[in-house]
């Protein structure tokens, strides 16, 4: 099936088979390997990207179903060489160890900051239920999400999705 999907502000037209997952579409077809596939069973959230501004698991979404949609991945969060405020917050708070879960964490966290008017640590922890980190114990991740949310609220135009 022929689909038109806007990925990171770029129009992409492709003929994709029905069973192609969005995660495979992004990684194998477009070479956007920043989106990670961890569990491949919809549990871990390493594959989280934004579809029309909302965070979704790309390993449980068919590419065909997104004809006409706008997708943003970790690569499209900021211009090359610069960091989005949420990426900067993860860097400054050391919100990672091995880093495998980080792209999904950040895409999920940006959605959290966008839909949560008054972010708290408890709300951040509840939100991150769909993102598993096997290294850190989440302390620094939660700190990063709160710092990034605060930075996004003061940075006009940071809500690139």
């Amino acid at each position: 099936m022929k689909v038109n999907i806007t990925v990171n502000d770029r129009a992409v037209t492709a003929d994709v088979p029905g069973h192609e997952l969005l995660s495979d579409f992004l990684r194998d077809r477009l070479g956007l390997t920043g989106t990670h596939v961890g569990c491949d069973t919809s549990q871990c959230g390493a594959c989280v990207v934004h579809v029309n501004g909302a965070s979704v698991k790309s390993c449980a979404t068919l590419a065909c179903a997104l004809d006409g949609a706008t997708v943003r991945t970790i690569e499209g969060l900021s211009a090359p060489g610069s960091l989005h405020p949420m990426q900067k917050a993860f860097h400054e708070n050391h919100g990672l160890q091995c880093g495998f879960c980080t792209p999904g964490m950040i895409m999920s966290a940006v959605d959290f900051a966008t839909v949560t008017p008054a972010p708290t640590a408890e709300a951040a922890r509840r939100w991150l239920e769909g993102n598993l980190c096997r290294c850190t114990g989440y302390q620094n991740i939660v700190a990063a999400v709160l710092a990034g949310s605060a930075a996004m609220q003061t940075t006009e135009g940071a809500r690139s999705t």
């Binding site: 997952l21 959230g45 965070s55």
Partner: protein
């Protein structure tokens, strides 16, 4: 995942035509259960009919009496809907606690209801609130819609289009999540309606059911202490590695008591 034909009709009539085929056709709503099932080859359809292209299946309408939710409305949208939060706040809260945020951004009420997972949240709300499931052919009361584990009254070629909920006087939902899967080990929805108190239980048994003994106890006196010495029978409840039947029976009473306590507290503060 096995290959399949993908169809995305834009009208309900063309859905019916697609489903009339004698191939193994499955309907895709949010895909939060179906796609993982297909990846594990628990489902291997020849054709997928995606309902995502039919705008009339999405949205919430409400008046003083009834809240109606389109089948393809996501859990996130129900949770955030002003109409639902005003008319049946317990339903908005239930939707906002399904799965995780990414599941709530894709998963839909129609998909959840049609799948009838024994541990899913929505069936408890439908049964307790005496909701009606509307399909492309008819309207079915919740009481006769959920027929067994992963089984419903839906016929081949029949799809859920909308669910309508009569607005209760008050309601509350309490669940205890499995620490691993985060599905409800037991969930109890208590609704106070003009016709009386209705209590529906999910997660505890192979299919959602009404706890009529709790209802009659609460009909005599509505308050958490009315259930103080109540013992829910374990017979017929799920008994598995996630929790034995006695534990689930205990949870039914505990969660019912908590839900009733919240209803009493919220009516006192009004």
């Amino acid at each position: 995942m096995r290959t399949f034909e993908y169809e995305r009709p834009s009208t309900l009539d063309s859905v019916s035509a697609a489903l009339a085929s004698d191939r193994d056709v499955r309907v895709l709503a949010g895909g939060m259960t179906l796609i993982p099932s297909m990846k594990m080859r628990l489902a291997t359809p020849d054709t997928i009919v995606d309902l995502g292209g039919i705008p009339e299946l999405v949205g919430v309408t409400a008046d003083d009496e009834v809240v109606a939710i389109g089948a393809m409305t996501t859990h996130a949208r129900v949770a955030g809907s002003e109409e639902v939060r005003r008319s049946i706040p317990a339903l908005a809260e239930l939707a906002g606690a399904i799965g995780d945020p990414q599941v709530r951004n894709r998963g839909t009420i129609g998909g959840s209801v049609a799948n009838n997972d024994p541990a899913s949240d929505y069936p408890a709300a439908l049964l307790a609130l005496n909701a009606t499931v509307h399909t492309n052919r008819r309207s079915v009361p919740a009481a006769s819609f959920f027929t067994g584990m992963f089984e419903t009254a839906l016929d081949v070629g029949e799809i859920v289009t909308r669910v309508s909920f009569p607005v209760p006087l008050s309601a509350a939902y309490e669940k205890f999540r499995s620490p691993a899967s985060r599905y409800a080990l037991v969930g109890v929805f208590v609704a106070v309606t003009r016709e009386g108190v209705r209590v529906a239980v999910t997660g505890a048994a192979p299919c959602v059911f009404r706890a009529t003994t709790i209802e009659s106890t609460l009909a005599e006196r509505f308050g958490p202490d009315a259930l103080e010495n109540f013992r829910f029978p374990r017979e017929g409840l799920n008994d598995d590695m996630h929790g034995d039947a006695a534990y689930r029976a205990h949870l039914v009473t505990v969660l019912a008591r908590k839900a009733v306590g919240r209803i009493v507290a919220s009516s006192g503060s009004r």
